[in-house]
């Protein structure tokens, strides 16, 4: 009797979960894979025959340049986020519990405003006649306004601004789990602060670092509106390429292929993340 009551509920949940995965995750991705191996068609977007032309086109030095430049900007973004986020998360895990809650809340508040709007706000701040330049000039630090906008730097600043919380939160969680007695044990066994950092703290926080990198690096390559608003024409991301191919150039196979390459990069990073977690024995024995 109990199982008869439970069975329909269980079935419904399973159908919902699998249906969701099938129609909203698996199918769209399969369509993208499909589109990437089709031929471009001005009328119906894609058509037969099946070809790897789109992937071959990705190897075109022009696009390779865009991809590498995009990867470079995303990597710099990730690096800056890591350099700021790592000590930030560490410090965050050390403050008293109640203030921790407040600080995490403040970290999340910006999410309540649309990121596009926030990027426009950033544009106003970085503009030649903007807040930052005016402040620096009135402080007498600079004679004439700096040209901050429409540069590689502006794109990276924008990406860091939008993505920093995604670096801090997973790092905060590993620092929270970092047991004080492991650090004591390390000192007890003769390791100074630097050796303890290298041999104990870094390996144990590595899963958080990789999770943060995953959450920053890949979105950083895709957030096309940031270069659109802050970057000018020379600082494109892979996201801009994909968007342009679908919306402007109407080359769906090529856009799809570029998107697949991004997805594969993500899959590789997730695999590395899993390996690092297994190393410290959090999963499976």
């Amino acid at each position: 009797m109990r199982s008869a009551l439970q069975q329909p509920f269980k079935t419904a949940v399973l159908v919902l979960v699998w249906g969701w995965l099938l129609f909203l995750v698996f199918t769209p991705n399969l369509l993208v894979v499909g589109a990437s191996v089709m031929t471009r068609d001005p009328g119906s977007f894609i058509s037969l025959p099946i070809t790897l032309d789109a992937y071959r086109q990705l190897l075109n030095p022009l696009y390779l340049d865009v991809f590498l430049h995009s990867l470079y900007m995303a990597s710099m973004t990730t690096l800056v986020c890591l350099v700021i986020g790592y000590p930030f998360a560490w410090a965050l895990s050390k403050v008293p519990r109640q203030r921790q809650v407040l600080l995490i809340f403040l970290l999340i508040v910006p999410f309540w405003t649309n990121s596009l709007v926030r990027t426009y706000a950033l544009k106003l701040m970085l503009a030649t006649n903007g807040l930052l330049n005016n402040a620096l000039m009135s402080l007498g630090l600079i004679e004439e306004p700096l040209k901050l906008l429409y540069s590689e730097g502006a794109v990276i600043i924008g990406l860091v601004y939008l993505l920093l919380p995604f670096m801090i939160l997973p790092l905060y969680s590993v620092f929270e789990d970092l047991r004080e007695d492991l650090l004591r044990a390390s000192h007890d066994l003769g390791a100074g602060h630097f050796a303890t950092f290298v041999h104990v703290i870094v390996p144990l926080t590595l899963p958080g670092v990789l999770a943060g990198v995953m959450l920053v690096l890949l979105p950083a390559m895709g957030l096309f509106f940031v270069p659109d608003i802050l970057g000018g024409s020379r600082n494109l991301l892979v996201g801009n390429v994909i968007k342009n191919q679908f919306l402007d150039a109407r080359n769906w196979p090529f856009g799809a292929a570029a998107s697949i390459v991004l997805t594969l990069t993500m899959a590789f990073l997730m695999f590395a993340h899993r390996l690092s977690k297994r190393r410290i024995g959090e999963e499976g024995a």
Binding site: R179, D181, L182, R184, A185, S186, H187, D188, L189, G190, A191, G192, A195, H199, V200, P203, L204, R279, I280, G281, A285
Partner: protein, 373 residues
């Protein structure tokens, strides 16, 4: 006579304005097994951390063999710690955990391998060198933690409730093993526990602590048989405390005390006495003799509880005035069926000369600390 290895003098420590240790003095002798025993919050773990260097005292000094360690960071102290929850590095193999301290000393690879294997053999884990800590049982993790601490050949090993996470049987095995290790290595062990049985069975000396102060320092026998105060008497072992009244002090270093109307003569205790003063007469359950109701000696009462313990029969007896008495009697070969009925009338006496006298204390032990054995 053993020499002092570590000398703690006038140590004080506060946390958030709350005094945890109050000008504490303790000399730890070279090669001894000393236990810091006390209820939780008595400051024993803080004391151990001060020795290890994880905390810094607000006042006082720590001296190891005439070298001042008070402000030396833990990595430069020739002591090692076995942590309560082992604190093994989860990302390192058993071998790398044990090798960690030697690598920090930058020892040659060959020497590290030999010494790690030697240490693992000592705790019978040589076949587990490649495992990760999470692949080991609690007892095995405990052994790795011990191997990791002794591989550095420290002057002293600090053990912070190392057995508290193990089940009863494993705990007994590890107790024996720790004693064996200490004998073989000849290292001074400082052992922290709240388990008085563990403290009595393992230690050369026990320091009973309460409220950041050492209540008594002595051999297990002294602490058990001649407790310095009511706290120690109650914390270490089961205790009967009978109210006594000094009848008269005799010239021959004895004193006559009235206990439940019985006039008993005791050796004079080492605290001042005057006639008519009340005091406590301490008797352990095994000192109590339960006699038949027809006996001429003793105080009358009746059995209210009996517990069969295998080798002993433990009973609770209510005296006629309501006083509760704990008695623990060994089974007699001649009378294997020896037992009590509940409600059975008996008379309670004790072996002369086994009692211990304690003065009344200013603040009665109302807030006594109950701790599981």
């Amino acid at each position: 006579m053993k020499q002092t290895l570590l000398s703690l003098s006038n140590l004080s420590k506060q946390f958030d304005g709350k005094t945890v240790l109050d000008s504490l003095d303790l000399d730890i002798l070279d090669g001894e097994f000393i236990t810091l025993l006390g209820p939780s919050g008595c400051g024993k773990t803080t004391l151990l951390r001060l020795m290890a260097g994880f905390e810094h005292p607000d006042g006082g000094t720590i001296t190891l063999a005439s070298q001042d360690l008070t402000h030396t960071p833990p990595e430069h102290r020739p002591l090692n710690t076995v942590f309560q929850n082992y604190a093994l590095f989860p990302h390192m193999s058993v071998f790398d955990n044990v090798a960690y301290g030697l690598k920090m000393e930058k020892r040659p690879k060959e020497e590290i391998r030999e010494r790690v294997q030697e240490a693992l053999a000592m705790v019978q884990l040589q076949d587990f060198a490649r495992r990760k800590p999470h692949q080991l049982s609690g007892g095995q993790q405990q052994r790795v933690a011990i191997a990791r601490a002794v591989v550095k050949r420290p002057r002293m090993l600090l053990l912070d409730e190392p057995l508290s996470a193990l089940d009863y049987k494993l705990r007994r095995t590890m107790q024996v093993e720790l004693k064996r290790l200490q004998r073989e290595l000849g290292i001074t062990f400082v052992f922290v526990t709240h388990d008085q049985e563990e403290a009595l069975s393992m230690s050369d000396r026990v320091a009973v602590m309460k409220d950041g102060e050492i209540q008594q320092l002595g051999t297990p026998r002294e602490v058990y048989e001649r407790p310095a105060n009511l706290f120690t008497a109650r914390f270490v072992g089961e205790t009967n405390l009978f109210p006594g009244l000094v009848e008269k002090t005799n010239g021959d270093d004895t004193v006559t005390v009235d206990v439940f109307g019985l006039k008993r003569t005791f050796a004079k205790p080492d605290f001042p006495l005057r006639d008519g003063q009340s005091l406590h007469v301490l008797l352990r359950p095994e000192d109590i003799r339960v006699l038949s109701p027809e006996a001429s000696d003793g105080v009358s009462g009746k059995v209210v509880e009996r517990n069969y313990k295998g080798s002993t029969l433990d009973s609770v007896i209510h005296l006629d005035d309501g006083t509760e008495v704990l008695a623990s009697e060994f089974f007699d070969e001649d009378d294997p069926a020896f037992d009590y009925r509940l409600g059975e009338p008996v008379r309670v006496s004790w072996v002369d000369g086994w009692e211990w006298l304690l003065p009344e204390e200013a603040s009665p032990v109302g807030e006594e600390t109950n701790v599981d054995a």
